[in-house]
């Protein structure tokens, strides 16, 4: 029963009841309700338990400022930690409160309250620091945490991102934002105006005001209609501008746009100008037990009464330090709610405010010292501010107003400065850092007419037109005298309801030396919650200022950071989800590989490659053994297309290759190639590759697969910045050449059977040379390189020809037992040979000598990239990790990355295992390792120490476990 629904009024549709559940109980609300207003209409006051002490909490606010009640949405809407005030009610909504189990009324965690005096600020840091916080964190999070993330993504919806450009972005469609958009729009600017609310109007939706002699909401409706009719204006509802980045780049997330099945759409907006018309946020007051359910922000009470037709209480007390609460009292009285008293901490109440509440009792110079009641408010104790007799007043609702903070969040995010304004007792936008200006209450224009004029002036200024006249709009003049806390308070006085931070906690932090507001924040966690202290931060600043006896400006604020309100991960990711997050690259053989039952992997740079080709029922290791053995003993073929390939042309191409590789390339004859290491300027290995000369000024160069993009960037940067006079052109041709590499002792026979016009004899076509010709009737370029240690022919063809070539190879190779070879077997073959692999042996810390490849460092060339740095480093003679082979004794597998420690003891490591494979040549596990002083230790034993303390002895060998003289690959 909606017992607390007022008989009339509100912007709800009483003809459209909506059913929902909260903590398992069924209720009914109306279209136009939020979950908060519907709960209040149903008389639900206890809605949450607090984060640390599990104190009973209720609904405090009416919008994004809500600090106390977070809910978890269930079912299709599954999401965690939503402020109850921002959840739009809909049929079938299911929600529950976070922080309590099984319900806020029967909360087992509330026993924590008994221990509350033992949980001061910094308690967790101090108590759980040994051996480290992470040991305790999971159970603490569970006990005191917020809602868990949903287990699966929301069903039946998706997220998207759009980019937009606007001459003017207006954040907020309250009176000033609408005015700004209206005049900029009329002047022809491309305007985007975004408002976080369900409907535009901002604070006007909650008040009873007039503009130009007519109801203010009529003006809102007309203005919205005019804006929507303009082709140059985009009006976004339910759209929060939550980040203001550099160069006027803003992020706006729109919830449920257009009823298109989209859950959220994030706009990435580059704006010419930005007007922050973000309004103001009311702040709470700090007195004893100021967190009891029934203590609410006055503006929220006004919103529930006027906008939602809900009576949040039957007998109200107002506690304020400013005039705005008098309009709340007037609206309560008009709705038939008893106002027991207005407690005003100021001695002098302006006559205009008194006139707004005829007949209501006002206690000037009084404060509320404490609130009474547990799960619901039963009364308050009031006393003269300067001391005197206390008195108890019964009430079930306390509407508090500690004044207003202009919402400077976006302005501050843009790096604009803030200044403390004494008359408003708040921080205001100061100097803009970007093309930003604040308007309306966000700029300190606290009364309606001033807000309208401020918005119109801002819009006109951006449009470069004269500021227009704005209509009359009577409003109670705003006047405030700060009251940062009630010093005569009794009981816990909360500054941050969400994180349970009290005045005592701030005083403790100050005593312990956390002297600035940023340190206080981190020590107490005040202002760190989902609400980011929207209602309480200023009171923390005020409490610090009072304690230190310094002005507010000197204390300052903590940094305002994005997001302004919580943002879902889906809204950030947009469509970059699943396979779209990072699309795969495919060779022309992906379909064939999958048809053969290959287990597909990502193998560097997002290339999708076959890992191995298991036969039905065959274990992974058996399949890898079979493929590797085919290459060692017969013949195999693999798809080497992903290898980075570049064509390098120009008068200075040879000189350029000499500059970027360690070996001499310029002496090569056409058709011949050479291996080289590419170093960075600091003398560490960046990549390795093979350069083949095509003719005097043309080369074909390979890089490792995963590094191809980086190598390209490296070459382009050198040519464009350091060597602009060198005539060299680099063209990436990885995608222009696909290849099938036939390898194994029978590779030549298979290639001959395919049919080719190239003389394949070792004399005519030696190792490390390249020939163009026809293969299997296809134009091809054959390269004799070897990444397996066996006789290999890399047959390069146009990608469209690769499937045909592949089929011909499989057919021609069938009599020889040819097998397709996956990346796992390739890994075994290269480890057996001690060939290095980027990311394994080359990890950005090794130089060529460490790998036993000093032979690749040309002495003949006076200079090349990295040469000098290697010389300087080696001159120090310091011990280095050096590449060795390892043979585990006993014959067991060792995980890659396992550390080697001296004697296997629990000590600093002396190296690590880079690879360990089941060798088919040796028929045992063999590996490679980088180990201190490894080259001098061949034949010695070393020790791998695994997690848990298990030790495996390994014999150190040279890094090559197979055919050390390379006879087979040259054959």
């Amino acid at each position: 029963m909606q017992n607390d629904r007022l008989a009339k009024g509100g912007r709800i549709d009483r003809t459209r009841p909506l059913r929902f559940t909260f903590n398992g109980r069924a209720y009914t609300g109306f279209a136009g309700d939020t979950l908060a207003s519907a709960l209040l209409a149903n008389g639900v006051r206890l809605t949450a338990r607090s984060f640390k002490y599990h104190r009973p909490r209720g609904i405090v606010g009416a919008g994004v400022e809500e600090p106390a009640t977070m809910v978890e949405l269930l079912g299709a809407d599954a999401s965690g930690n939503r402020p109850v005030t921002t959840v739009e009610l809909r049929e079938g909504l299911a929600a529950r409160s976070v922080n309590c189990w099984p319900s806020p009324a029967v909360d087992l965690g509330a026993v924590a309250q008994l221990a509350a005096r033992f949980i001061p600020a910094g308690f967790y840091y101090k108590t759980f620091k040994w051996p480290n916080w992470h040991l305790y964190e999971p159970s603490i999070r569970k006990a005191a945490g917020l809602a868990a993330a949903p287990k699966s993504p929301p069903v039946g919806g998706r997220y998207e991102t759009r980019f937009a450009h606007a001459d003017l972005l207006v954040a907020g469609a309250g009176p000033s934002g609408l005015m700004a958009a209206l005049f900029a729009g009329r002047a022809g600017l491309r305007v985007m105006i975004a408002d976080e609310g369900i409907e535009p109007g901002g604070a006007l939706l909650s008040r009873r005001l007039s503009i130009g002699g007519r109801p203010a909401l009529d003006w809102v409706a007309e203005t919205v209609a005019e804006l929507e009719a303009m082709g140059n204006v985009t009006l976004l509802r339910r759209a929060t501008v939550w980040a203001y980045r550099e160069h006027d780049y803003l992020l706006v997330t729109e919830r449920a746009p257009d009823r298109t099945g989209l859950l959220e759409r994030t706009w990435r907006v580059r704006a010419g100008h930005v007007i922050t018309a973000t309004g103001a946020i009311e702040r709470g007051l700090v007195f004893g037990n100021n967190d009891r359910p029934g203590v609410m922000l006055a503006s929220a009470v006004q919103s529930y009464v006027n906008r939602y037709g809900v009576a949040p209480g039957r007998r109200a007390v107002i506690f304020a330090n400013n005039t705005s609460a008098y309009t709340v009292a007037a609206d309560l009285a008009a709705a038939g709610i008893e106002v027991a008293a207005i407690i005003d901490s100021r001695s002098d109440v302006p006559a205009e405010a008194r006139a707004a509440v005829p007949g209501l009792p006002i206690r000037a110079g009084y404060v509320v010292t404490t609130a009474h009641g547990g799960r619901s408010l039963r009364g308050v104790t009031v006393a003269p501010r300067d001391g005197g007799e206390a008195e108890r007043l019964d009430c079930d609702l306390l509407a508090v107003s500690g004044g207003w903070n202009p919402a400077v969040h976006l302005f501050s995010q843009s790096r604009g400065t803030l200044r403390y304004d004494d008359s408003l007792a708040s921080f205001l936008p100061g100097d803009a850092a970007q093309s930003t200006c604040a308007a309306g209450a966000a700029a300190g224009a606290m009364e309606l007419e001033a807000a309208l004029a401020s918005g119109a002036a801002a819009g006109a200024s951006v449009a470069g037109v004269m500021p227009p006249d704005t209509p009359t709009a009577p409003d109670l003049a705003y006047a405030v005298t700060p009251l940062w806390r009630v010093e005569s308070a009794r009981g816990k006085c909360f500054l941050d309801l969400q994180n349970d931070v009290t005045v005592e906690d701030v005083h403790l932090a100050l005593r312990e030396g956390y002297a600035t507001v940023e340190h206080v924040k981190r020590y107490t966690t005040g202002g760190m919650g989902l609400d980011q202290g929207k209602t309480g931060n200023i009171n923390i600043t005020g409490t610090v200022a009072l304690a230190q006896g310094v002005p507010m400006q000197a204390v300052g604020t903590t940094t305002f950071r994005a997001p302004y309100t919580p943002v879902s991960f889906g809204a950030v990711g947009g469509l970059r989800d699943g396979p779209l997050a990072l699309p795969y690259r495919h060779t022309p053989l992906t379909a064939w590989n999958i048809a053969q039952g290959a287990v597909m992997y990502e193998a560097g740079a997002r290339w999708r490659r076959p890992g191995y080709f298991p036969r039905p029922g065959e274990a992974m290791q058996d399949a890898i053994d079979r493929e590797a053995r085919a290459v060692r003993e017969g013949v195999g073929v693999y798809d080497g297309s992903p290898l980075g390939t570049f064509e390098i042309k120009g008068r200075d191409a040879a000189r350029f290759l000499d500059h970027i590789y360690t070996t001499v390339m310029s002496t090569l004859a056409p058709g011949a190639g050479r291996y080289g290491l590419m170093l960075s300027d600091d003398g560490l290995i960046f990549d390795d590759g093979v350069c083949f000369r095509l003719d005097a000024q043309r080369w074909i160069v390979s890089s490792s697969t995963g590094n191809a993009d980086a190598v390209h960037r490296h070459m382009e940067m050198l040519l464009q910045t350091d060597l602009p006079d060198w005539s060299v052109f680099v063209t990436p041709v990885t995608a222009q050449w696909a290849n099938a590499t036939i390898c194994g002792p029978k590779a030549r026979e298979v290639l001959a059977d395919l049919g080719t016009d190239i003389d394949l004899s070792p004399e005519a076509f030696p190792f490390m040379s390249l020939r163009d010709g026809m293969v299997a009737g296809l134009p091809a370029r054959i390269v004799r390189v070897s990444f397996t240690g066996e006789l290999s022919f890399e047959i390069n063809v146009a990608p469209r020809h690769l499937p045909a070539l592949w089929d011909r190879i499989m057919a021609a190779g069938a009599p020889h037992g040819i097998l397709p070879v996956g990346s796992e077997a390739n890994h075994v073959l290269r480890v057996e040979k001690g060939f290095l692999s980027l990311g394994h042996e080359v990890d950005g810390t090794v130089d060529p000598y460490d790998l036993g490849m000093g032979w690749a460092m040309s002495r003949k060339k006076p200079d090349y990239i990295g040469k000098r740095a290697v010389e300087i480093r080696r001159a120090t003679g310091k011990m280095r990790h050096e590449l060795v082979g390892i043979i585990p004794e006993p014959d067991v597998q060792i995980p890659e990355g396992a550390p080697l420690t001296p004697g296997g003891h629990r000590q600093a490591s002396e190296g690590f295992v880079t690879a360990c494979v089941k060798s088919v040549a040796q028929d045992r596990w063999v590996g490679l390792a980088l180990v201190d002083d490894g080259h001098a230790r061949h034949g010695e034993m070393a020790h791998v120490r695994l997690k848990g303390g298990k030790v495996i002895a390994v014999r150190i060998t040279r890094p090559c476990h197979y055919d050390p003289d390379g006879e087979r690959l040259r054959s």
């Binding site: 780049y249 850092a433 940067m717 300087i872």
Partner: protein
């Protein structure tokens, strides 16, 4: 997300660019450079509080490398690239 002026493509959003780091002095001649100077050239990277000259590559665009001055305090682009003006 900055707006970076590419000399060929005009102002483009930062996500199209790759960062190339601050501009160092030209690579010295190793034959005539003392070891300490070489190490200095290698390891001393400009890192001012204020304008810094740095390189960006319009990677997801025309591919050109450009040099500009960025104020590290504000991200304001306070100079260059020359061809963009």
């Amino acid at each position: 997300m900055m707006l970076i002026p590419c000399p060929f493509c005009g102002p483009r959003t930062e996500s199209e660019f790759a960062y190339g780091g601050p501009v160092r002095p030209p690579r010295p001649d190793p034959a005539t450079t003392a070891e300490a100077d070489w190490v200095g050239w290698l390891t001393e990277v400009p890192n001012p509080l204020g304008p810094v000259e740095e390189r960006w590559c319009h990677l997801r665009g025309c591919g050109s490398w450009l040099t500009l001055w960025r104020d590290t305090r504000t991200h304001a682009i306070v100079g260059g690239p020359q061809d963009a003006e």
